[in-house]
């Protein structure tokens, strides 16, 4: 039987509310496939709950939807402060031997490289996306954000289909390229080049660190 997937879903600003919605889509896919999901969101998205979920439930795959730095990934915002879930040289060993996809800025630059024995998929620069502010309270209706966020969801969907980490990332990159081509065919649509630029940059800083052949199974 497949081990569970742990998904962190913070939601306290525009960026995290979009990630929350898009992570929900793959969460439903997982449930449809009979994969057990540990969904960490407010009020359970705390360092304590996160740590105990990893230690007690032993998820093989951890999917972060959060803000990040070169050496940290965050959870919820408590008061004015974002709580750190993973910090290099403090508790990054929690991710050792795991399959990790960090949909967060910067985390592959250093934190991902510190994790041993597993596979860390992440971004070595900021993971950016455009949103249409007319739809910012309804991410499901925002067709601008879709161009950049759907390719990132494909990494997780592909891992659910027993693709290796490398195959999943390749599929995501191919989708980004196809999105760029589709955008180029749209005429008289302002903002097309801006979306292509962001897709390009996200593609360029997407990294797989560790065992590229690792699968979620």
């Amino acid at each position: 039987m497949t081990k569970p997937i742990l998904i962190t879903r913070s939601s306290y600003d525009d960026a995290t509310s979009y990630l929350f919605y898009y992570a929900g889509i793959v969460m439903k896919e997982a449930e449809g496939k009979g994969i057990k999901v540990i969904d960490l969101k407010r009020p359970n998205l705390t360092l304590g709950r996160f740590t105990s979920a990893i230690k007690e439930k032993q998820p093989q795959f951890i999917f972060f939807n959060a803000h990040g730095d070169e050496d940290a990934i965050y959870g919820d915002k408590i008061g004015e402060k974002e709580e750190v879930l993973i910090k290099e040289n403090i508790n990054h060993q929690l991710l050792d031997s795991k399959l990790v996809y960090a949909r967060s800025c910067w985390a592959a630059a250093s934190l991902g490289k510190a994790c041993k024995g597993g596979c860390f998929i992440g971004y070595s620069l900021p993971f950016n996306f455009w949103i249409d502010e007319r739809w910012s309270s309804k991410p499901q209706n925002d067709n601008t954000a879709r161009w950049c966020l759907e390719p990132s969801n494909l990494i997780v969907s592909s891992l659910f289909k027993s693709n290796t980490a490398e195959e999943a990332v390749t599929k995501s990159i191919n989708m980004s390229k196809k999105n760029m081509l589709k955008l180029l065919k749209i005429q008289n649509e302002p903002g097309v080049v801006d979306i292509i630029a962001v897709l390009w940059n996200n593609m360029q800083c997407l990294e797989i660190i560790g065992d590229k052949e690792m699968k979620f199974e």
């Binding site: 600003d13 525009d14 960026a15 979009y18 803000h67 990040g68 730095d69 965050y74 974002e82 967060s104 800025c105 910067w106 900021p126 993971f127 950016n128 996306f129 455009w130 949103i131 249409d132 502010e133 007319r134 910012s136 601008t144 191919n174 390229k177 196809k178 760029m180 081509l181 180029l184 302002p190 903002g191 080049v193 801006d194 292509i196 630029a197 962001v198 390009w200 940059n201 360029q204």
Partner: protein
């Protein structure tokens, strides 16, 4: 001795500001923990040459270089 902040090349700055001018008014760019910014805010950060502004410049320059070197076209032709 305090290191002097490196100034952006004025021509590069002008180029990036011009690029940002074409961003639709209703678009906002999410830049992680830094926040979400519309085009006027993006331009302000570039004008100030602050951390966010320099990130925007770096991103725009990488893309412009990929277009002008033919790298983007090559990647898309092989898609």
């Amino acid at each position: 001795m305090k290191e002097e902040k490196k100034k952006l090349d004025p021509e590069i700055k002008k180029l990036v500001l011009w690029r940002l001018d074409t961003v639709p008014k209703h678009f906002k760019l999410s830049i992680g923990r830094e926040g979400t910014f519309d085009k006027e805010e993006l331009k302000e950060h570039v004008e100030k040459e602050d951390k966010i502004g320099l990130q925007i410049v770096e991103m725009q320059l990488k893309f412009i270089k990929a277009v002008s070197s033919g790298e983007l076209s090559k990647v898309l032709a092989e898609a």
